[in-house]
């Protein structure tokens, strides 16, 4: 009996060592980014230390004051908040209609929407660039936002329609008889009930927009309008050898995401699983 206990302990020990090694591999680059952001340029050039000798916060000050990080950061917050709000509002309206209401062309439109989710379409940034140019929206905040919003719609409509389909109809029918308008039902009954699905969508779309780079690269030239991921590349081109300053910039771009992730982990995992298993 003792032998089996020992064997079991050994097995779980080996498992934890393997998992722990992978975990350290995941965490180390992030730790290295933060640690290096607190070092001085001299230390980086002269000596390899795991932690900074003196905690040097000046890189963060420089990033915000000299390298436009304040503006990039605020731009990213703006794109994320406004983009996510409109994705949720527009997609929940449409999803409710697809789940509950009759209107011409309903099925065709829904299948078309799902088709764009399933079929890989690389390189749409080329016609998007031309489209925004002809609309006079190239290098504008509105142009980038419109792309972000429409990119998020198909999946959000798909997820929310599934959610609305599963809600009981009785409450809505009672409200209808009591004289509530369709929009009133959507706004007062359906949306509040869909809160779990909406929470998942808020988190996932926030991550997507905050981390988006390619469209921001194609659409924006003006530094004053750039989100933080785009700003990082401009910054990297300017201060190419100032690694501590660059790492401070990366940390600024990462901290909000990590905080949201740690707080909302369950929603993210649920969203990923829902997206993958349903698709």
């Amino acid at each position: 009996m003792n032998f089996f206990k020992f064997q079991k302990r050994l097995k779980s020990g080996v498992t934890h060592i393997a998992l722990g090694a992978v975990a350290i591999t995941c965490l180390f680059p992030v730790f290295w980014m933060i640690s290096s952001s607190l070092k001085t340029q001299d230390l980086i050039f002269s000596k390899m230390t795991l932690l900074p000798e003196v905690w040097n916060w000046s890189n963060y000050v420089t990033a915000f004051v000299k390298a436009d990080f304040g503006a990039y950061f605020l731009n990213s917050v703006f794109y994320t908040v406004v983009g996510v709000f409109f994705i949720i509002f527009i997609s929940s309206l449409a999803a409710y209609a697809f789940a509950r209401l009759e209107f011409p062309g309903k099925n065709i439109l829904f299948y078309l929407l799902i088709a764009t989710l399933l079929i890989p379409i690389p390189g749409v940034f080329v016609p998007l660039y031309l489209l925004l140019k002809s609309l006079g929206l190239i290098d504008t905040r509105l142009g980038l936002l419109l792309c972000y919003i429409s990119n998020g719609l198909a999946f959000a409509i798909f997820l929310l329609k599934g959610f609305f389909d599963d809600l009981p109809r009785e409450v809505e029918e009672a409200a209808l008889i009591d004289g509530c308008s369709r929009f009133g039902i959507y706004w007062r009954i359906a949306v509040p009930l869909a809160k779990p699905a909406i929470a998942t969508l808020v988190i996932m779309n926030s991550l997507t927009i905050w981390n988006e780079f390619l469209l921001a690269l194609v659409i924006l030239q003006d530094k004053a309008k750039m989100p933080i991921q785009r700003g990082l590349m401009v910054f990297q081109g300017t201060f190419i050898t100032d690694y501590p300053l660059l790492m401070a910039g990366l940390t600024i771009a990462t901290i909000p995401i990590v905080i949201v992730y740690l707080m909302m982990q369950k929603h993210i995992v649920k969203g990923i699983a829902a997206g993958a298993l349903k698709g």
């Binding site: 393997a18 992978v22 995941c26 749409v124 080329v126 995992v269």
Partner: protein, 295 residues
Amino acid sequence: MKITPIEKTQNFCFIIPALVLFLIFSLYPILRTFQLSFFQWNGIDKDMLWVGFAQYKHILFNNPAFWKSMLNAGYITILALTLQNGLALLLALLVNKNIKGENIYRTIFFLPPVLSGVVVGLIWKFVYDGNFGILNYWLTSLGFTNFADFAWLSEIKTALSSVAVVHMWKGFGYGFIILLAGLQTIPVDLYEAAEVDGADAWQQFKNITFPLLIPIITIVMILTILGSMQVFDLIYSMTRGGPAGHTHVPITKIYEYMSNGEFGYSTAMAVIFGIVLLVVSFAQIYLSKKFNYDR
């Protein structure tokens, strides 16, 4: 309940905002991609020159750099399919055994996928740096002194593999999460029954876990293929396709042609690449179904 035309119109109002955005910013660009691919156009001239399939032919038969970029993406993808997904499956199996700290491991493994491609690319560029990177510091400390100032991302021999390692580092947690969710849907009594019948761990994996997991594995494989073939942010932030095109992938190529004002040519490339992706994902679905039914 009968629906009046007025009600139908009111109902239609619910989808108008989504419809307008979808038509203008999703559907129209897709159709426009096909249309542009038949024209030679720099985006400025008033007249677009109709060239039929000439650009397609040129890409397919006279553009080795494009095929090189496909091979590069293929190399990253095959590594991701085997090493990255293999690791993801192994970790999911280990974590699924009701071990202590399941949540902590899950949180940590999914951290890299949450980070942005640009951030990950730039952190690793620093790690790989020939003179100040910690990788070479460790290698020289371990006695590999010929790596003292080895520039991983500028050497033709190592650039692509170095990028592929980062891509896998960033990606395995994603497959891990999906596979773990899949494992947790397999009923426990199947394993209990197998245990009673005297099946060992390998037999249980071979006869219960793996067959039941095939649909999930297929999804993970397709997501891996689509994600890896279309990698952009990592490449752009680490190498921009260099050295001498050795880390170019299709999307960086399409972007490059677009930046040079070759709008028609870049869209033709996008169409060819899109068809390749479609064929590969359908082949994957077909194979897994066949494999599934044979059992």
